[in-house]
């Protein structure tokens, strides 16, 4: 076997390998194609979905897209510190303090309509991003508390200012252990043993 035939064989072998791998990769790129932008979905999952628009975007998904495109992660007051932290983890950036321009982190609130003052204008119903207000024209409206995200968007449109944002009352099921209000070490037997 001369050198030239060896070279030819080598080229043929390499070419065949390249072809095989090319086919495999090509198939894989089709077979395992990732639809959409998974990052946006992940960011959207972290955001609190209040759809309040305090970030300056019309809803949480648009903000998620903006973050994916490089916007700041500290524009979500409803999510607060926890959300910023999660976003920082997700995006691989340093957590920043909440941008005060977009609002302050506050306790969770829900809208409450003072029903005797409601004139039934339906404006809050149109404003509600999650259809959590029930009512009809010229009939009293009321908020479905469980569905309310506390986005605040219904307060401004109300012509008679009968909507209040009230903090969600804590119940035993939503209560968190708090070291300030509950004593820590209550294993009395320890001292004895």
């Amino acid at each position: 076997m001369t050198i030239s035939t060896a070279i030819i064989f080598a080229v043929i072998a390499i070419g065949a390998l390249a072809l095989v791998f090319g086919l495999v990769l090509g198939y894989a790129s089709i077979r395992f194609k990732v639809e959409g932008d998974p990052l946006v979905e992940q960011i959207d999952a972290v955001l609190p979905q209040t759809q309040c628009g305090q970030c300056g975007y019309p809803g949480c998904k648009p903000y998620a897209e903006a973050i994916a495109d490089g916007d700041d992660i500290n524009k979500c007051p409803p999510g607060g510190e926890a959300t910023i932290k999660k976003l920082a983890d997700l995006m691989g950036v340093e957590p920043k303090p909440l941008d005060a321009a977009h609002g302050e982190e506050d306790v969770k609130k829900v809208a409450f309509i003072r029903e005797d003052e409601c004139i039934g204008c339906t404006k809050c119903i149109q404003a509600c991003p999650v259809d959590a207000i029930l009512g009809a024209a010229k009939h009293m409206h009321t908020v479905i508390t469980d569905e309310c995200t506390g986005c605040d968007l219904c307060v401004d449109p109300c012509p008679v200012d009968c909507i209040d944002m009230v903090p969600i009352a804590q119940t035993t099921s939503t209560w968190k252990w708090d070291f300030e209000s509950s004593p820590k070490g209550d294993i009395p037997i320890k001292m004895v043993s």
């Binding site: 979905q49 035993t172 294993i187 004895v192």
Partner: protein, 881 residues
């Protein structure tokens, strides 16, 4: 995988046990209270019964404030399968249904029913089920549920849920371990009520049908073990086993592991490994509920700790305030730095925030520790990574890692270390040399994670709702747009149809509704008059023509006026035309007033009349010829550049000028004058504007009449021609054809006639600039027919309308001419600019191109003409008379 049933039985028979990892051996401190028999405390002043005393949802309160309730009476009804009712612990009055602090570490309030005991302690009707083994299992389970029984070991899981499992159960385990220090309630219960526990076990066995029954008692309770052994001695398959004391052997998972060597899978239930476990207290309550019919209204509570003088076990009514039991146990506040009561055991209990908190179904112990029993609150020191906690953990977790992450609020990482497999036994905290309250951190982390999960679920729901709303809004928008588009299309279609029908409809309306048209005409005429005045100002010849009373002169002046008017405003031209009609009519009126006597006198003798008229006309014609020539030259300049009409006008004017010389023309003029006179005479009584508008047509008609009369034409024929002409002015070509065909014999005369109306009519009408003038109608018709079919159709429709009108009314001619005028107006305004340029060409084509339409028109015209002829004949007859 895990030990088989047989091997487990073998192990149990051999008295060997499996074990669970970790565990601690704290001082059990049970000797404080385990020697005191279960006492019945005095009735408290107030019983506070929380509506929710178990895991699951609230029941619905079914009593009202002020109601008197009996002992055992149901107070709340199950709202879901996961809720159990609560019952009145004693007879008395419901004094409040309000939120009250409940047995929860948070010290938050929940709905409670407060009952003031009446001291009688009278039971409601009880329904014991003695022969439970003959009863349907579902009925038994229902009875257990209605008795309000939930797990009394600590978790409070509704028992009826547990018993209604469909999974095969190999082992039914009765948990008498009570591994937590201090607590002796189960111990005392087993010692004193072993038989009833055995009865409860019988019921459970009947319900569940396990392969093996194991009663497990920790080996630090030999009395209880002995009592149960005696109670179960007649049943060989009830295995009472003693279990090595190790905290937390009493934990469900741990005990299962100890007895069977099986591990309950994560997120699984004991039933998943073929095991079902009940607390002895629960078992006792089941026996009470089934055999005595008593609901769960009391339980054994250990009140212990060094701060009470006489630690003891109480059979406390549910709802008894903690403070009442402490008093019963001689609580000594001096032994505590601050009042502190722990509900539950020292390892797993929680500190109560209020002494009025009631005893609930899960309250097994009230621990009142003395000063030296307590750990200093600020004793926590940093973790030294000694891993003692990991060694102690019965669940084989890594407590220091979980603590690390829980403290840093990295809950997801804490979860990765299986935080939720932690049973919060407190073994890790017990062994911690740094006094770290590890369980507290875990509890906090767990509640935090649960809340985050809830929030996440809520966020997911909110997102779905938001997206659904967005979708809905989008859909509504599209629907609205589609609707609008459809409406627009419909509107456009309607407009098109209207456009197509508009003129026809208008004509039809106006033609059919003469009154309406009259009104319109009046308005139009009024407008026209105003314009005519303007025109008159611009054409002083107008006045001259008025004074001259010469038709031709009049026409020429009209012509001039009209052209001026056209030059000023072509759109207004038609109105102006009407105005000119007016003027002409006025002039005609004048003519009629002057000539009427003559014409009327001569009307019977046509020839004479005609001659006289001709004589007069001739003289006028000469004048007019001079005038018109000069005017024509002047008017041609401005108008000729713009219009075909001006060309027409100029033609007609030249014709008129020529006619001044020619006899024929003179005759025509005379005829026109006379016809007008006749007409005027006929229509004098008619409204001026109407007449004025209509007069054009009639004048044209009468022109012909008069022209034909001197030529001795037959009246009928004349009339027909006249009618046809009048009508055909709208369709000149058609009329020409008809004339050509019908009057071929009289070709010359006819043509002359045809021409003459044209010429005479054109001067008289066309100056009026597309006004009622038929020539214009003809022009526009030609234009339109040449231009497009639509126009032709419209024209046809108009013609039809006219025909109807004519047929209906004797004044058809009169009416039709304004109609045509109007029609023309609209058409002319549309087309003046464009079509008139082509009009010359189209006029030449009219004979060839629009032949089909012409035929149609001709037919219509013929029909109309017939009607007109009749009318004319009648008129003629009248006249002659």
């Amino acid at each position: 995988m895990y030990p088989s049933f047989d091997s487990i039985i073998e192990t149990l028979e051999a008295g060997k046990m499996y074990s669970f990892p970790g565990g601690v051996h704290p001082d059990d401190k049970k000797s404080l209270s385990n020697t005191s028999v279960i006492k019945k405390p005095s009735l408290p002043e107030l019983l506070i019964v929380p509506l929710r005393q178990h895991i699951g949802s609230d029941g619905i309160c079914c009593v009202e404030v002020g109601d008197t309730v009996l002992k055992g009476q149901i107070l709340s009804q199950s709202s879901s399968p996961f809720s159990v009712p609560v019952h009145a612990p004693t007879s008395g009055e419901v004094v409040a249904i309000a939120p009250h602090v409940v047995a929860h570490p948070s010290g938050l309030t929940e709905m409670c029913i407060s009952i003031r005991p009446d001291g009688k302690d009278s039971w409601c009707n009880l329904f014991p089920i003695a022969n439970y083994s003959e009863l349907d299992k579902n009925k038994l389970i229902e009875a257990i549920c209605q008795a309000g029984i939930s797990g009394m070991g600590g978790a409070g899981f509704p028992t009826h849920i547990k018993t209604s499992t469909s999974k095969p159960v190999e082992f039914l385990i009765l948990n008498g371990i009570e591994c937590e220090p201090y607590i002796t309630s189960d111990d005392r219960l087993m010692r004193e009520h072993a038989w009833q526990i055995r009865q409860g076990l019988d019921i459970l066995t009947h319900l569940i049908g396990p392969k093996a029954i194991v009663v497990a008692v920790e080996d630090n309770k030999p009395e209880a073990f002995e009592a149960l052994n005696i109670a179960c001695q007649d049943k060989k398959d009830y295995r009472v086993v003693s279990v090595e004391t190790k905290y937390p052997a009493g934990g469900e998972k741990q005990l299962i592991q100890v007895l069977t060597g099986r591990e309950v899978p994560r997120n699984g239930l004991p039933a998943d490994v073929g095991v079902m476990m009940f607390n002895v207290g629960t078992c006792y309550a089941i026996a009470d509920a089934i055999l005595h019919g008593k609901p769960l209204i009391e339980r054994v509570v250990t009140v212990t700790g060094e701060a009470v003088e006489s630690p003891s076990n109480f059979r406390a009514l549910l709802g008894t305030p903690v403070s009442h039991l402490l008093d019963e146990a001689n609580y000594n506040p001096k032994k505590q730095k601050a009042p502190k009561v722990i509900m539950g055991g020292p390892m797993m209990g929680f500190t109560l925030s209020d002494a009025t908190i009631p005893v609930v179904k899960t309250t097994n112990c009230l621990l009142v520790p003395a000063k030296k029993e307590l750990v200093d609150d600020n004793a926590e020191r940093p973790c030294i990574r000694c891993s003692a906690c990991a060694d102690a953990c019965p669940a084989s977790l890594l407590p220091q890692q979980m603590f690390w992450h829980a403290k840093a609020k990295e809950y997801d990482k804490a979860e990765e270390y299986d935080l939720f497999d932690c049973i919060e036994c407190g073994a890790c905290a017990y062994v911690c040399p740094s006094e770290i309250p590890l369980v507290h951190y875990y509890r906090q982390a767990k509640s935090e994670i649960r809340i985050q999960r809830d929030e996440k679920n809520k966020a997911e729901k909110a997102k779905q709702r938001f997206e659904a709303r967005k979708e809905r809004l989008e859909r509504e928008k599209l629907e609205r747009e589609a609707k609008h588009r459809k409406a627009k299309e419909a509107r456009l279609a309607a407009n098109k149809a209207k456009e197509q029908n508009a003129v026809a409809a208008d004509k039809a309306n106006s033609a059919v509704d003469a009154g309406a048209t009259e009104a319109k005409d009046k308005v139009a005429a009024a407008l026209a008059r105003a314009k005519a005045k303007k025109a008159a100002m611009q054409a002083p010849a107008n006045g001259e023509s008025m004074t001259a009373n010469n038709d031709e002169h009049n026409n020429t002046t009209d012509d001039k006026k009209a052209q001026v008017a056209a030059a000023i405003a072509r759109a207004k031209a038609k109105k102006a035309a009407q105005a000119q009609n007016d003027i002409q009519e006025e002039s005609a009126d004048e003519a009629s007033t002057t000539e009427a006597p003559i014409s009327q006198a001569s009307s019977p003798e046509d020839e004479k009349k005609a001659k006289v008229a001709a004589a007069i006309a001739r003289a006028k014609a000469k004048k007019a010829a001079q005038a018109s020539q000069s005017i024509a030259s002047s008017t041609e300049k401005p108008a000729g550049s713009n219009d075909e009409k001006t060309a027409d006008f100029s033609d007609t004017e030249t014709n008129a000028a020529l006619s001044a010389e020619a006899q024929k023309k003179a005759r025509i003029a005379a005829a026109v004058a006379k016809a007008k006179a006749q007409k005027a005479a006929n229509k004098r009584e008619n409204g001026q504007p109407d007449e004025s508008v209509s007069l054009q047509g009639t004048s044209a008609q009468s022109n012909e009449q008069s022209v034909s009369q001197p030529e001795a034409q037959l009246d009928e024929k004349k009339a027909r021609i006249a009618a046809a002409v009048a009508k055909a002015k709208a369709k000149k070509a058609a009329s020409q054809k008809e004339y050509g065909s019908s009057h071929s014999t009289e070709a010359d005369a006819e043509e002359q006639n045809v021409n003459s109306p044209k010429e005479a009519g054109v001067p008289s009408t066309s100056h009026q600039n597309n006004s009622a003038s038929n020539v214009n109608a003809e022009d526009s018709d030609r234009n339109s027919s040449a231009a497009d079919e639509k126009k032709a159709r419209i024209a046809a429709a108009v013609a039809k309308a006219k025909a109807k009108k004519l047929a209906q009314e004797g004044n058809g001619d009169l009416a039709s001419s304004p109609d045509t005028a109007k029609q023309e107006r609209s058409k002319a305004s549309e087309q003046n600019e464009s079509s008139t340029n082509a009009a010359q060409a189209t006029s030449t084509q009219t004979s060839s191109q629009p032949t089909e339409q012409d035929e149609k028109k001709a037919r219509i015209a013929a029909a109309v003409a017939k009607a007109k002829a009749k009318k004319a004949a009648a008129e003629q007859e009248k006249e002659s008379e």
